[in-house]
Symmetry: C4
Subunit: 340 residues, 4 copies
Amino acid sequence: MKETRDKARELMKGYCRVCRVCDGKACAGEVPGMGGLGTAASFKNNVTALAWVRLNMRLLHGVTAPDTSVSLLGLDLSMPVLAAPIGGVSFNMGGGVSEEDYIEAVVSGCRNAGVIGCTGDGVPPVIHESGFGAITACEGYGIPFIKPWEGGELDEKLEKARATGCTVFGMDVDAAGLITLRQMGRPVSPKTPAELEAIIARVHGWGGKFILKGIMTPDEAMLAARVGADAIVVSNHGGRVLDHTPGTAEVLPEVAAAVRGRLTVLVDGGVRDGADVLKMLALGADAVMIGRPVSVAAVGGLQEAVEQYLATIKAQLIQAMILTGTPDMASVSSRILFNG
Amino acid sequence: MKETRDKARELMKGYCRVCRVCDGKACAGEVPGMGGLGTAASFKNNVTALAWVRLNMRLLHGVTAPDTSVSLLGLDLSMPVLAAPIGGVSFNMGGGVSEEDYIEAVVSGCRNAGVIGCTGDGVPPVIHESGFGAITACEGYGIPFIKPWEGGELDEKLEKARATGCTVFGMDVDAAGLITLRQMGRPVSPKTPAELEAIIARVHGWGGKFILKGIMTPDEAMLAARVGADAIVVSNHGGRVLDHTPGTAEVLPEVAAAVRGRLTVLVDGGVRDGADVLKMLALGADAVMIGRPVSVAAVGGLQEAVEQYLATIKAQLIQAMILTGTPDMASVSSRILFNG
Amino acid sequence: MKETRDKARELMKGYCRVCRVCDGKACAGEVPGMGGLGTAASFKNNVTALAWVRLNMRLLHGVTAPDTSVSLLGLDLSMPVLAAPIGGVSFNMGGGVSEEDYIEAVVSGCRNAGVIGCTGDGVPPVIHESGFGAITACEGYGIPFIKPWEGGELDEKLEKARATGCTVFGMDVDAAGLITLRQMGRPVSPKTPAELEAIIARVHGWGGKFILKGIMTPDEAMLAARVGADAIVVSNHGGRVLDHTPGTAEVLPEVAAAVRGRLTVLVDGGVRDGADVLKMLALGADAVMIGRPVSVAAVGGLQEAVEQYLATIKAQLIQAMILTGTPDMASVSSRILFNG
Amino acid sequence: MKETRDKARELMKGYCRVCRVCDGKACAGEVPGMGGLGTAASFKNNVTALAWVRLNMRLLHGVTAPDTSVSLLGLDLSMPVLAAPIGGVSFNMGGGVSEEDYIEAVVSGCRNAGVIGCTGDGVPPVIHESGFGAITACEGYGIPFIKPWEGGELDEKLEKARATGCTVFGMDVDAAGLITLRQMGRPVSPKTPAELEAIIARVHGWGGKFILKGIMTPDEAMLAARVGADAIVVSNHGGRVLDHTPGTAEVLPEVAAAVRGRLTVLVDGGVRDGADVLKMLALGADAVMIGRPVSVAAVGGLQEAVEQYLATIKAQLIQAMILTGTPDMASVSSRILFNG
């Protein structure tokens, strides 16, 4: 991984320092770029909140070869990990690789590692077009995320996404409030329950599943369940849209408890290693999304580096499962957390 | 804003470093100057206390064009923001612009942005004279703050302030204790309830409103209401008169609860962006005062920069309102705060 | 004060950096020297604990010229401050001034400022001899502290101390445990209640008062009262004898509550400015001892600088009293503390 | 000690910086090396958790010559300290001394200081062979630790360990999860209660005692008692196998309370000085293991430096006992802890 990170540091110069610990401190305020908005409190809170969750180490048991696999949203994954939807290589990551090469590396790398990659959306169109292209090239094995556009753009993009052959669709409603897009005449906005119900019904009509990304409170999680979402992502958009939110690991337990058994709970925010994956599951998630570290791998070494990074995560996850006595993902509970 | 800040950094050299985050660390002890007194604990507590207040992000709703306007003290403001009364450009800010140009930039810039600027007082007389001049030039649209002088000086200045045509008058009683002024033979001091009653009755007799700045406890808030104040400002004077006070965001909820509905509650201390404005309102304030960042804008780019800064605050406030589902200022409650 | 501090920094090079905030960080482990023992946790805890105590600012009252004076142990002091007993200029402070000049500056400077200085003890004999000399030169106006020697040395030194004409005697029992002294054949040790009773009875027989320094728990405070001590000093010896103790401001409220009205409660540890003095009184102390800052003043500018430093403390104390509405020392209570 | 530390810093260059405070910050992620795994949160939590435990200083008593000795596991020790089992000089410590010289220094140095040293295990075989050799050379006075190998390797090594003449045997089950060993075809793994029962019964059959290292929860402590262990070590393996565990001082009180009187409780993790030893005992341990500081001493100055380091620890322990009024180890209780 060292080579990949060195290469990424070179290519992302001015956009990401590829710090030893990716914690939002050095890049505070760098939006566009890889940083958090403003003081980056939301980004930093993600990392800090997860760091405060600690694992009970247990060794007096027979768990020596734990099973990391999970099934969710009709997908069989080698481990409970997805690549988060991130796009905009040119203005966020320095443009050292093309948008197409980047997202293909993410989507294919994830597939080869037995997990699944999400693709992003935005302005310019190359972002979603490259994403849809990468999913199509993988025969529909990828999850297209569409921004919460106002008016017809949302429907058009959903149709295009459907054409990739994918079975799961996502919307990062947490992108609403990006007033720069509104100023460019391409407004994104929150969605009312009625609007969401219509969108989700449409996707369900195609036989698809729908992920709603950007839930940070129990009340909105229950609302997501009521309007038919198949999954939510507990997310503050990597701290890039609103400064001063709590870290996702802080809100996850309450959010997950509110909708347990009714929909799939995903989470992103500060997941950096395999033990972090296990901690998020112990807090109530069914799987995690990983953002920045996957981007760094993709820029630094394309598909091969994405696979390497995911292999590292898996090895760390296995080690964390052995050292907490966790035979499989269904066995994860707050018992493995200190004071859990 | 970058240009403004670079220019300000140059002009304020030795007085203010125009740090990326204005948090009181680098300038600790620099009074005069822009710093906090002593260890600057009070200044730093303001920033820290506000940073610990965190927002619930909500996106499942129809708030896309929130209304930031408020009415208070007979004023219709485009957003709940006032420029705090700060003066003494020569000894606090390096003297790169004149006192007159400085305060005119603040007062006119605020008016153009739909909010209102306060003017300061002190020694030498150019401070209050420039302030009164700027308000007069704006046809009374500004709030003159007068220090809690002993004896006749207070009455004289109130009369002069009245002549500006203003409708709201303020006194920063938190300036009391500046023993340097006493040593110069120009003592300022705390005011007894009886003294305050007389001052406020006089202002009321003119049909004016009265703001009492420097309230940090519920008991003094109630006292302010009893003696007839129309508004209080929860303030520790930017940490410049007493080291080791709590941050204003820490005391605000209790103070506001004590006088809710009886008078207008303003607050200053560490407000740096639009989300901070929203947080202060959620803690119980009706509006906020912003101090140092307005001064930096005024020194760095005069009226235009003040307007730019306020436009940035407004854009951030709108974004924060969208992302918390807040349609207007009357709807703000602790529900938008994490653990609120 | 800047000149004094610059001079002290030069003379104390290698022993004390005369940091902007004297907090035990830079000099951790420097014993001998001015630092705390080991990780200096006890020194740092003193400063941190006091920093966490915060003042309620109040301005709606008539306190404009507060009275800082106190009477304790038969002494009338201009403010509730004593200079802590510190000696060993050569090995703790770099030897830039002589032991005689140093302690004379402390004792005379304190007297001139209306407070009182304590003198130290140790090896070599010049420490206590200089101290006794300085008190004698001030006609007994000073408090000699004697270390808790084993055997005859204690009695001999008490006799010598008596000869200075002083009326108050102290013992820093917190110096016990300095095994270096034991290794030099000059053992110091804890004292049993019976031993203390005998020592104190002797001092009382002379008509003297006795201060026991080094109390950190309520049970030992009550024991001190039982054996007849007139005063205790809540102290961890500046963090120089045992690493990892709490800060004195943390234990003070409970300790003071245990013996309120039975004896005089003094405290040292991290007092740096006038507001700190007021905070310690609000936590239950009758007066404070100030250590390192007085030493820095004495080394940097002898008697004059000690007086200047004490004048600064007094001005800050007055300002803090005005800004908290405290007319005199008898009026101090936890009401002036935030959450007090 | 300065000379030893300077020499160690030179010899361990690239492996250990021999920092002033050994706290896991500078070497985070350096495994192999002397650091903690990943973010080193577990290593750092050990140090932080212990730093938050604070001592009540008491001086009004007759404790002047405390007795530091303890008896446990049939061993009479001059103080409650063991050297932790650490090996792999070449890849963890820079190879400046040989594995043989290193472990002989530890084992002999401990014996001369009246305590006992543990030896490590791993790949290559020189690690355990040197350890067994050192114990044999000390006529069985040492505790061989064996890794939790799968299959026959464990039994073979136990037999070889027995041949050293030792009376106490240890297994660091916390080493399980080192998937590098598994990848080298030398798997280590957790142990089931049944497996442990068999191992311990065998050792008991030889008349030996058995220490199980790597217990971090009360339930596993009780399980250790049930399967017959004579002692446990509360340990997270110095933070080298699982990131994000609590510090051992945080879990120790609950773990010790669960098995008090049923087996001997040892603990390692962040013990750096004599006061730390006392704190761990006050939290419930019967004795502590010290790891990295002993290694630094051994590399920097071999046996003599190990003895010097242990003499320093003992002197500090005595001083801490005097200053807390602790006559002997049996008298230690939470009464000496602040808020204990």
